[in-house]
């Protein structure tokens, strides 16, 4: 007998019934229970987080407290500080947006990708809890930033209402940004998203310029009530947008930030920024893809000249590094306005960070024995050639920041010191974690790790000491 027309339902009913998919909540609960059973509880995680907060966050509050309790050390007028804080806030918002987009903001680490995200569990249900934490984190960080900005601007005297209002505005902004970043998570990064950073930096330049020209405009009006209302509306809209998109965030979008998050965690735990910067750099070059070099080939010449030309050619390919180098010139000027007693030390630290941005070639050569072998010269000569650009950058940087103090040939000590610090940092041998340990308040730490972390910073500390305690 031939099958009758319309037999499809009979065939379909012959298929085994689809297995019941557990809810995301149930799956998460089981996962948590299994982990608890195997002793991988949260204790260790909490300890690590606390340690990182203590290690990296102890200096800031102490300094802030000192700053707030010494009003005499705030000579810049309130208007200047207000505008500086506004510029800083815009730049910080831009950088935060960039970070949110780079990390996800919602992300799934490799194990979660393989075992949970790849399963048919409802995506929306799986992501709703992380989104909640993300929005809460955005609110807390935003509130903290808002309050801190008000304090830095010297508005604490205006009363708790001003600080509280700024915290509310900050919290709303944080929620809005986190929600919006989640909403556009599946879209590719667009270079225009960097605009807030550029606006903030331009604002800082303008404020400093106007301050020195003594034409700083009046304090920006701060209609806190209306601002809070507007930001609340935007925050709700951001959160709603995030909720709406939650079920459509695909595995690719969730996986994109995982390597970066893993590298950031490793870098924080091992206090080794290169673990993070390496991943960031690889992502950047993959995004760049190719460069135009066909028409401008390197020219033959002595080895040092060829290497130097290649080094100079690579400079504009790192516009971010150049921008940071240039932006850090503002730091000593801003510190003179906000915290003059810290301007000298801040200049040294900012100089170290700025010059380090130009030392990518030096770091590449120092890090890679294979590169040194192939380039065919002694290590020392290769290092020296790749030190030319950072040295020139250090000199220019220091001269550009010299408006804060009278020209002094003795300042050359700082330029040489910064170059030496960067050199020491770049030539640090690779880390070994198996050597002797030292007992610290944060537990046992490998001696080699401490030595590596301090390499370069030790020279900076000496320079800061000279700046603070030795007569000019």
């Amino acid at each position: 007998m031939s099958p009758a027309i319309g037999s499809t339902p009979a065939v379909a009913s012959a298929l085994p019934p689809a297995p019941a998919v557990p809810s995301a909540r149930r799956l998460r609960r089981r996962l948590r229970a299994a982990r608890r059973e195997h002793g991988s509880g949260r204790g260790g995680d909490i300890y690590l987080v606390l340690m990182i907060i203590i290690v990296f966050g102890a200096i800031g509050p102490r300094y802030l407290n000192r700053y707030l309790t010494h009003p005499a050390e705030q000579p810049a007028p309130e208007a200047t500080r207000w505008w500086l804080v506004v510029a800083l806030a815009v730049a910080a918002a831009g950088l935060t947006w960039q970070a949110l987009r780079a990390f996800g903001p919602l992300l799934a680490m490799p194990s979660t990708q393989a075992w949970c995200v790849a399963s048919p569990v409802a995506r929306r249900g799986w992501l709703i809890t992380p989104l909640g934490y993300l929005l809460l984190g955005g609110a807390l960080v935003g509130a903290g930033a808002g309050a801190l900005g008000t304090l830095l601007a010297g508005a604490a005297a205006s009363g708790a209402a001003t600080v509280g209002g700024a915290a509310v505005v900050g919290a709303g902004t944080g929620v809005a940004m986190a929600g919006a970043a989640t909403g556009v998570q599946t879209r590719r990064w667009h270079p225009a998203e960097r605009v807030p950073v550029l606006v903030g930096l331009a604002g800082a330049v303008a404020v400093i310029g106007l301050r020195y020209a003594h034409v700083v405009p009046a304090t920006p009006a701060a209609p806190v009530r209306w601002s809070a209302l507007a930001v609340a509306v935007v925050a709700v809209a951001g959160a709603v947008a995030a909720l709406g998109r939650l079920g459509r965030i695909d595995r690719a979008a969730l996986a994109a930030g995982a390597p970066l998050a893993g590298a950031a965690a490793s870098a924080a735990i091992f206090m080794d920024a290169t673990l993070f910067s390496g991943v960031v750099e690889a992502r950047r070059w993959r995004r760049a893809g190719r460069v135009r070099s066909g028409l401008r080939r390197l020219r033959p010449g002595p080895r040092w000249a060829v290497l130097l030309r290649a080094e100079v050619r690579r400079l504009p390919r790192r516009p971010g590094a150049l921008a940071i180098w240039a932006a850090l010139i503002l730091v000593p000027y801003a510190l003179v306005l906000i915290a003059p007693e810290a301007a000298g030390a801040g200049r040294v630290v900012a100089g170290y960070l700025a010059v380090g941005r130009l030392a990518a070639g030096l770091r590449a050569v120092c890090r890679s024995p294979a590169l040194r072998r192939s380039l065919g010269d002694t290590d020392q000569r290769l290092y020296r050639v790749h030190l030319v650009v950072p040295a020139a950058g250090a000199l220019l940087w220091w001269l550009a920041g010299s408006g804060v103090s009278a020209p002094d040939p003795n300042q050359l000590v700082f330029v040489i010191g910064l170059v030496f610090a960067v050199y020491r940092n770049a030539t640090a041998p690779s880390r070994a974690y198996g050597g002797p340990m030292v007992d610290t308040p944060f537990g046992l730490v490998p001696v080699d790790l401490l030595r590596q972390v301090l390499r370069g910073l030790d020279v900076v500390a000496v320079l800061v000491f000279i700046e603070l305690f030795l007569p000019a």
């Binding site: 070099s293 080939r297 072998r373 192939s374 290590d379």
Partner: protein, 206 residues
């Protein structure tokens, strides 16, 4: 040209290379063969100075081979597993840089190698965007755009397609004719049979 005498390398209790001795003369291709884990890569790493032997001597033209010696660096071109690139230089720029850093004056050499290795379309690409096969080709190209007297290659056929392997065999034969000493480790019996004058077999003794 290259002489290795009583080379020993241990990892903890395990002796990977035990009193290995051999020589490679100019114009000779010596193939190091053996199973995985027999110590081929370790031997090559010790020869070029990427790893430190526990005992024995390695000499180039009768002088102790010291990796940091500029004469050694000028003479020895190698492709090992630690090959690295400047992340911000393109394929073409890497090869130009290497050729000129070794005193090369002829840009045509770079162009020829790029064309031979099928890297023309990738000339302006940054290393991070290359496939593993293209990275391998770039690494090999880096050896052929610069002067060399000793070529040390660790499994150079890896990740190469059939066309690439054919090119590699031809290039090694040309090196032999030009008087370059070649020390290569390989798992490809066809490549070894085509280019090698001598063999050094590593592995547990029966």
């Amino acid at each position: 040209m290259l002489s290795v005498a009583n080379l020993t390398r241990r990892f903890g209790e395990r002796v990977v290379l035990d009193q290995i001795s051999f020589t490679v003369t100019a114009g000779e291709v010596c193939a190091v063969i053996g199973a995985n884990g027999s110590g081929k890569t370790t031997l090559l790493r010790c020869v070029v100075g990427a790893d430190r032997a526990d005992g024995g001597q390695i000499r180039l033209d009768g002088r102790p081979m010291i990796e940091t010696d500029p004469v050694v660096r000028a003479s020895v071109a190698c492709v090992l597993d630690d090959i690295d690139f400047f992340p911000d230089l393109s394929v073409g720029e890497h090869l130009d840089l290497l050729a000129y850093a070794h005193g090369g004056r002829e840009p045509d050499v770079v162009e020829e190698i790029i064309a031979e290795l099928g890297l023309s379309d990738a000339r302006d690409q940054l290393p991070a965007t290359l496939s593993s096969g293209q990275r391998r080709r770039l690494a090999l190209a880096s050896c052929f755009v610069r002067p060399r007297r000793l070529l040390v290659l660790d499994e150079p056929e890896q990740r190469l397609d059939a066309e690439g392997r054919e090119w590699l065999a031809g290039a090694l034969l040309r090196e032999r004719e030009a008087g370059t000493a070649v020390l290569l480790a390989s798992h490809d019996p066809d490549l070894v049979a085509t280019v090698a004058d001598s063999h050094l077999e590593l592995g547990p003794e029966d």
